[in-house]
Amino acid sequence: MGEGRSPAFYWLAAFFAAFVLFLYGPMIVIFILSFQGPTGGLTFPLNGLSFHWFERLWHGGGIVDISGAFERSLKLGLVVMILTVLLSLSAGLAFRKRFAGSNLLFFVAVASLIVPSIVTSLGIALEFRLLDDFLKNHGPEWLAGDLKTTMGTFTSGLGAHLTWTLPFGLLVMFAIFNRFDNRYEEAARDLGATPWQTLRHVVLPIILPSVIGVGLFGFTLSWDEIARSSQAMGEHNTLPMELQALTTTVTTPEIYALGTATTGVSFAVIALALLAITLIRSRQARHGSDAGQA
C-alpha cells in the first residue's frame, strides 16, 4: 500500500514467484521426462528425446486396460458434467426462493464436501452391497437369477462423483445468482413472457458462460476424482485409480507419459470451454442477447 512500491512489495512478490515455481516446477519436470528416450529412467538425465513411452502407452504395453479405463473415465466425466449442470442449475433456481428444507439441503450439500471421502465411499459401497443381498434373496426371479452386483461405474460410481461435484456446482450457482439483476426478469414478465420464456430467453442467455463453467468444473472434478471412487466403482477402475495403482508397480517413464496425457485431456476440455465462453460473450457483444428472438 502507500504511494511508491515499498520494500515489502518486492519481498512478497519474490515469495509469490517462489510459490508459483513450487506449484509448476515438478509438473514441468515430469512433462519433460515423459519424452524420455527408450533407454531413459525415472530421473534425469534425459537419454534422448522420443515419443517411445507415449507409443507404449497407446499400445497398452505392459499396463492393464488403460484404454478401457480412459474410455470409462471420459464417459463418466461427460455424464457427471451434464447431470451437474442440470441439477445445479435447477437447484440454483430453486434456492432463489426459500422453500421447506432449503437450509437442511444446503447444510447436507456442504457436509458432503467436509465428510472424509473414504467415509462416503464406504457408505455407498455398503449401500449397494446390502441392496445386492436384498435383491438376491427377495428380488423377483428374473432379476435375482443372474444378478452379480448393482455396483458399477454408472450406478454407485456416478452417485459417488455427484456427491463431490454437486456441492461445488451449487456454490457457484449461488455466486451467479447473487450477482444476477432481477430487473431483467421483471421486465420480461411485465412484457408478458411466460415463466418458461423468461427462463429460456432471458435468464439462461445471461448466465450461460457461468453455466458452462459449472459443467467444466464438474468434468474436471470427476476426471481426477479418486478417493470417493475407491470403494464405489465396482469391478472396473477409473483412470486416476489405475494411475494410483501404477505408482507402486511401474518403474518406467510410461507413468509420466500417462500423467502428461491425462493432463492434456483436462487442458483440452478447459480450452474448449473457455473458447465456448468467449464465443458466446463476443456474440452477445455483437448482437446483444438473443432475448425475444424466436
Binding site: 472424509p116 473414504i118 462416503t120 451449487l170 500423467g259
Partner: protein, 279 residues
C-alpha cells in the same frame, strides 16, 4: 427435487448405513446383522492393557494429527502470505485475476500426477540430491527426501495450499480499505495494521481454509500411500486396509471414529475463533 434425492441416496443413507454396520458382527466372508460393539472393542484392543504404552490405533491418530498440524501450519503461513500479497499489493483487478488463474492451472491435473511429479526431484538420483552432492553439501544422496514423512508433508502443502489462499483472499477483499487508511493515518506501522486489523478481519477465511485442509489430511489415504511409500499409517488408511480385507463392520467402525474426530476438530476450530472474537 432430484438434487436432494442424489444427496439422500448417495450421502445421507450411506452415512447412516456406515453407523449401523459399524455395530454389526462379521466373520471371514460376510457381515452378520446384529448389535455388538465388537468392531469398536477390536479397534481399541489392548489400549487399556498396554498402558502406559500407546496402542496402535491411538498412535495412528496421533501421527495423523501431527501431520494435520504441520500441514495446517505450513499451508496457513504460505497461504496467508500469498493471499495478503494478492489482495493488498497487486493493484489492478485484471492483474489479480491473471495471478489467480496462474495459481489455479495446476489444479487442472490429477493429484496423483502432482504427487508423482516429485519423484524426479526428490528421489535418490533426483535433482535435489544431484545438486546436494555436486556442491559437496552431502557425501551420499539423502534418503529421507522421498517416501518419508517429509515428502508426505511436502506433497500436502503442494496440493492444498491454494485451498487456504482462496477463502483468505475472499475475506481480505471484503475488508473496507478505508479502515486500513485510517490505521495508517493514526500512525500504525505496517506490522501493527497487519496484526491488529487484517488478521482479525481475515479470520472467517482462515477458519474455512483450515477446515478444508484439516479434513482433507485427516481422511486422506492416497497421499500417504503414494508419497509415504506405503510405510506411513494414517487414520484414513486404517479404514482402507480393513476394506481391502473385506471386513466391513470394522471398516465402518473406524470410519465412524474418523468422522467423529474430524467433526470434533471442526467444532474446536470454530470455538477458537469465536472465543477470540469475544475477547
Amino acid at each position: 427435487m432430484p438434487f436432494g434425492l442424489v444427496f439422500l441416496f448417495f450421502f445421507v443413507i450411506p452415512l447412516i448405513l456406515v453407523v449401523i454396520v459399524s455395530f454389526w458382527d462379521y466373520n471371514d466372508y460376510e457381515m452378520l446383522p446384529s448389535f455388538t460393539a465388537r468392531s469398536y472393542t477390536e479397534t481399541f484392543e489392548g489400549c487399556l492393557a498396554k498402558l502406559p504404552d500407546v496402542c496402535t490405533i491411538l498412535r495412528t491418530y496421533a501421527s495423523t494429527a501431527k501431520f494435520c498440524f504441520i500441514v495446517w501450519l505450513s499451508t496457513l503461513l504460505i497461504g496467508f502470505t500469498i493471499a495478503y500479497f494478492l489482495a493488498f499489493y497487486v493493484r489492478t483487478v485484471t492483474m489479480q485475476m491473471v495471478l489467480f488463474l496462474v495459481c489455479t492451472i495446476p489444479f487442472w491435473t490429477s493429484n496423483v500426477i502432482r504427487m508423482i511429479s516429485w519423484i524426479p526431484l526428490l528421489g535418490r538420483n533426483g535433482l535435489v540430491n544431484l545438486a546436494l552432492t555436486r556442491f559437496h553439501i552431502v557425501d551420499r544422496p539423502v534418503e529421507w527426501l522421498l517416501y518419508s514423512p517429509f515428502s508426505v508433508g511436502l506433497a500436502f502443502t503442494h496440493l492444498f495450499t491454494f485451498f487456504m489462499v482462496v477463502p483468505i483472499f475472499n475475506s481480505m477483499m471484503r475488508i473496507d480499505r478505508r479502515l486500513i487508511e485510517a490505521a495508517y493515518d493514526s500512525g500504525a506501522s505496517a506490522w501493527q495494521t497487519l496484526w491488529n486489523l487484517i488478521i482479525p478481519l481475515s479470520k472467517p477465511g482462515i477458519v474455512i481454509g483450515s477446515i478444508f485442509v484439516v479434513t482433507i489430511v485427516m481422511g486422506d489415504f492416497i497421499t500417504f500411500d503414494v508419497m509415504g511409500g506405503e510405510q506411513i499409517a494414517s487414520a484414513g488408511k486404517v479404514v482402507e486396509t480393513r476394506l481391502n480385507a473385506l471386513q466391513f463392520p470394522p471398516a465402518a467402525a473406524n470410519a465412524v471414529i474418523l468422522l467423529a474426530v474430524t467433526l470434533l476438530i471442526i467444532v474446536a476450530l470454530n470455538r477458537i475463533v469465536d472465543v477470540r472474537k469475544e475477547l
